[in-house]
Symmetry: C2
Subunit: 216 residues, 2 copies
DNA sequence: GAGCATATCTACTCCTGCGTAAGGTTACTG
DNA sequence: CAGTAACCTTACGCAGGAGTAGATATGCTC
């Protein structure tokens, strides 16, 4: 009704794969700063420099879109941990590498972390997706601890290993949360602090003991 | 327009203070199972056995109501920790008591915990309230560690103490989260597992060492 | 047992934002 | 350079739910 007079330079056409990634990037940013509900599809479309029906055409409903974000960021997160943790290294070295990988991810993808950690937990349909991811991480950690126990020829109950894994993951999330709000902070520093806490325990720390990475 | 024919037994009048508590109880339950946005004011009013305008008259808007829930549950949580942690006890005894108090609260107020932990984190306006509460808890924990360090005549950087406090609080939240989903689990058991992890550290645990409470 | 403050209800209005129908625009292909 | 398939848009339908207006019931006080 209005145009076709000026025939505006209008828009650029891009292949589907590219646009989908742009949309996901935009969605992660918006979900991160607004929260799931407060984020509107209009704002996401706007942030992606595209109109709303495109989002629906490519990624489906708002729920679908959010789930796609969680899956993409979750996969990246998990990948950044498991890719650096070797199978046959000493327990403390594995722990150290895992923590570094984790905090490096959070430092580099603060938006993604916010979506995963702060948003997905509250919405029931996605809580399941997140729980699944968390369970996989906890399983990785518990498996690591289990192998270390075997290597030390001591024994431990399955439940205790799992509890320790939960504690470790929770501690990491907590510090990551702090990190996400302090852009000036160094991820490796956070990793070292958590390493000290979780490996040595409060008792040793109070006695002034410190853990040192073997490789600089 | 419709009634005044049958003059139904209709409703019971209750003093404001009582109704307010009923409403808060209902709101916590509904927010807990639905999440902030999915919870409707109609459902909350219904759960409280009252009609919607009453909620607005007494507690204000939906935001106000949610904030009231967070404040009430947060105050209770903090109280259940600080009330059992003496000032002049050994560090491990303080830690043990604090953890027991915390997990006892979560075990007894799972709904309240869900509101605090899973919901408040995601909504921007309330994230501040929750952050304030968390900061107070972290400060309590850090203060405890600080006194313990002094008692041990060792030294530690302020930042390291705070990081340890964050890690401890995060680990506790993580296990509490698990506890909230396992009604059959014993809160004291969870407290003991976390005590082992945080006090001894992973290294000691892997060597088969265990921490024992001095009092049964 | 009449008056009055307070507690309570029913029945709306209106806004926000998800999801879609119907139709232009671009660029590739023969 | 016409035909066509994939991109992309504007403009709307519609539902859910926050918040409110106005009327009614209750029980305390004298």
């Amino acid at each position: 009704m209005l145009a076709s007079v000026a025939s505006r330079p209008t828009f650029k056409r891009l292949p589907r794969a590219v646009r989908e990634q742009q949309m996901l990037d935009a969605a992660v940013r918006v979900f991160s700063r607004r929260g799931f509900h407060e984020a509107s599809m209009d704002e996401i479309a706007d942030e992606a420099g595209i109109s709303k029906p495109m989002v629906y055409a490519y990624l489906g409903s708002k729920d679908d879109l959010f789930r796609a974000c969680v899956n993409r960021e979750g996969t990246r997160l998990l990948e950044s941990i498991v890719s650096v943790v070797g199978d046959d290294l000493p327990a403390d070295e594995q722990l150290w590498r895992g923590l570094r990988g984790f905090f490096a991810f959070v430092g580099a993808h603060r938006d993604g972390w916010a979506v995963l950690y702060r948003q997905a937990k509250s919405r029931q349909p996605f809580a399941d997706d997140l729980a699944a991811l968390r369970t996989r991480i906890v399983a990785v950690v518990a498996g690591m601890l289990g192998r270390a126990v075997q290597a030390a020829r001591t024994s431990a109950h399955e439940q205790d290993l799992t509890a320790s894994a939960y504690a470790l993951v929770g501690a990491a999330e907590s510090i990551a949360d702090w990190l996400a709000d302090h852009p000036e902070a160094d991820p490796d520093h956070s990793a070292a602090r958590l390493m000290n806490f979780s490996w040595l325990g409060a008792r040793q720390l109070l006695q002034g003991e410190l853990w040192q990475p073997s490789s600089a």
